[in-house]
């Protein structure tokens, strides 16, 4: 099989985009993508599209919505939904079609309108599904890992807060981030308790956004750019704490399965990763993801953040874009935006958050599903080809 390459990325400013419709978000990301491609691209060159959204706004959004927003009618466009791994799994599916030779040029677009519905995530998670999920909201699902990690490994709330401090600092340097402010460990700990042990600044904001990337087969990639970025490896996996593994109480085995497969396919290991965009929906999620991706050993996530290793100038920079904590988490767009950032990083185009000459980049999502009993993870690995 041939390799698939990213040849362009179109990001929009994430935020509270009340003046833009769902279609407006898609259209804006698509136009930014067309403009970004080094040697240009004609819409007629695009063979197919994959669209990531959970349709949080409940607009019945499907592949046809992308055709309406972009004008790309008569082409196969498929909607992908896979919880917080929605955008990254849409990308993975597009890449498989390109690798298979069925599609030469694929659009991957992710979008989410999180703020049109005033009920919001907590209402949806807590009430309708109270029976099976027993009132477990998203901060509770992830917060349980924090309680357990603190108990088993002695991780402190201050170490967990350090993740938020780092990512907010990065976010102030990333132009598309939603929440652009710096904070201290004390600010995090003094912010209101959302779900003990997590405080407000341990949680990502609720954000509208969209992002698009273009994937090309290796034999056509250079028609669009001289610096394509290769999709070197991928993995997708699911798990549930109900299976009885105690590791699933403090960490996410699904991230371990997905990253193992991505490492194996790419031939790289955790030590080879020069820059990573990982799923920090909550500060604790990033801390345990250091362990799940093999950046440090089990129980060492607290020391890893304290050491400065994941900072912009550290050994393994994590979330130079500010992560979900600062950038925001419009669910379908999240994974695509992480891939767009890795694309920029590997081309040395990341501006104030550029890390030092990276060769290998990794993108990761971990999501919850099935009324807070399940977890799903997608990992993609990239290099300069």
């Amino acid at each position: 099989m041939r390799d698939a390459y990213v040849v362009g990325a179109g990001m929009i400013d994430f935020g509270e985009l009340y003046d833009q419709s769902f279609d407006d978000l898609l259209e804006a990301a698509y136009l930014n993508l067309l403009e970004d491609v080094d040697k240009g691209v004609e819409p007629s060159d695009i063979d197919a599209g994959w669209y990531g959204t959970i349709d949080f706004a409940n607009e019945g959004s499907s592949g046809a919505s992308v055709a309406h927003a972009t004008g790309l009618f008569e082409k196969p466009i498929t909607r992908v939904e896979n919880a917080c791994a929605t955008g990254s799994d849409a990308f993975r599916n597009a890449s498989l079609a390109v690798r298979a030779g069925e599609v030469d040029l694929a659009l991957v677009i992710g979008a989410e309108k999180m703020l049109d519905d005033t009920a919001g995530l907590i209402q949806g998670a807590a009430v309708e599904r109270l029976w099976r999920g027993r009132g477990v909201t998203m901060p509770a699902f992830f917060g349980m890992r924090a309680t357990r990690h603190m108990e088993v490994y002695g991780t402190t709330k201050a170490q967990i807060a350090e993740v938020s401090v780092k990512n907010h600092e990065n976010g102030t340097k990333y132009p598309h981030a939603h929440q652009q402010f710096e904070c201290t460990v004390e600010d995090v700990q003094d912010s209101p308790t959302v779900s003990y042990p997590l405080n407000l600044y341990d949680c990502c904001p609720v954000t509208d956004g969209a992002c698009a990337v273009l994937l090309a087969g290796e034999d056509v990639a250079h028609e669009y750019t001289d610096e394509p970025v290769r999709h070197a490896g991928w993995g997708l996996s699911s798990d549930t704490f109900q299976r009885g593994d105690d590791l699933a109480l403090s960490n996410f085995p699904a991230s371990r399965h997905a990253s193992s497969r991505a490492y194996e396919r790419s031939g790289y290991g955790p030590d080879d990763v020069d820059v990573a965009e990982v799923h920090d929906c909550f500060s604790i999620t990033e801390l345990i993801t250091y362990e799940d991706l093999g950046f440090c050993g089990d129980g060492e996530g607290g020391e890893f953040i304290e050491s400065g290793a994941p900072r912009l100038d550290g050994h393994t920079p994590v979330n130079p874009s500010g992560g979900l904590l600062s950038k925001g988490h419009p669910i379908g767009a999240t994974g695509v935006a992480q891939i767009a950032e890795i694309y920029e990083q590997l081309r040395d185009e990341a501006g104030d958050v550029q890390v030092d000459d990276p060769e290998v980049g990794l993108q990761h999502n971990i999501g919850i599903g099935r009324n807070a009993t399940g977890a799903v993870s997608c990992v993609n690995v990239f290099d300069r080809g």
Partner: protein, 137 residues
């Protein structure tokens, strides 16, 4: 009669009845299943087992932001509930009730108490909540 979503697992929720996979010993609660999350057996053979009315907190949170009609702070835990007799425990979500927040910790034993869980609009839905046993603080 309550809606089908709440009616289906009624016996499990009201009697702490669970199901043990005869291939690997994994315990399903409250779902009555024909495949196994432990060993992927399909079809799996299950035997009905009775859970004890006491379990152990494996981890927990205390939720402070919930819809207005739910009392806060609302603690919720992942609880291992052993079977009566030998075998693996069921690992389940449990709402905590009638306990002081500072009594909650990983490893704490809690007992099941039959309570109204919530109201589905027409009638109360009953199941077990978990509480720190009285007089054993």
């Amino acid at each position: 009669m309550s809606g089908p979503r709440y009616h289906r697992p009624k016996r499990q929720d009201q009697r702490l009845v669970a199901f043990e996979c005869q291939s690997c010993g994994w315990v399903s609660y409250p779902e009555r299943k024909r495949t196994c999350k432990g060993c992927s057996a399909a079809p799996a053979e299950y035997e009905e087992v009775q859970l004890q009315e006491r379990g152990e907190i494996k981890t927990f949170v205390v939720q402070h932001y919930l819809p207005d009609d739910i009392e806060t702070p609302q603690p919720v835990a992942i609880v291992d509930v052993p079977q009566v007799g030998d075998g693996e425990p069921a690992r389940i979500y449990g709402l905590l009730a009638e306990s002081e927040l500072d009594e909650l910790e990983v490893g704490r034993e809690v007992e099941a108490r039959f309570r109204e869980l919530f109201d589905d609009g027409d009638r109360p839905i009953n199941s077990f909540k978990f509480a720190v046993p009285r007089g054993e603080k």
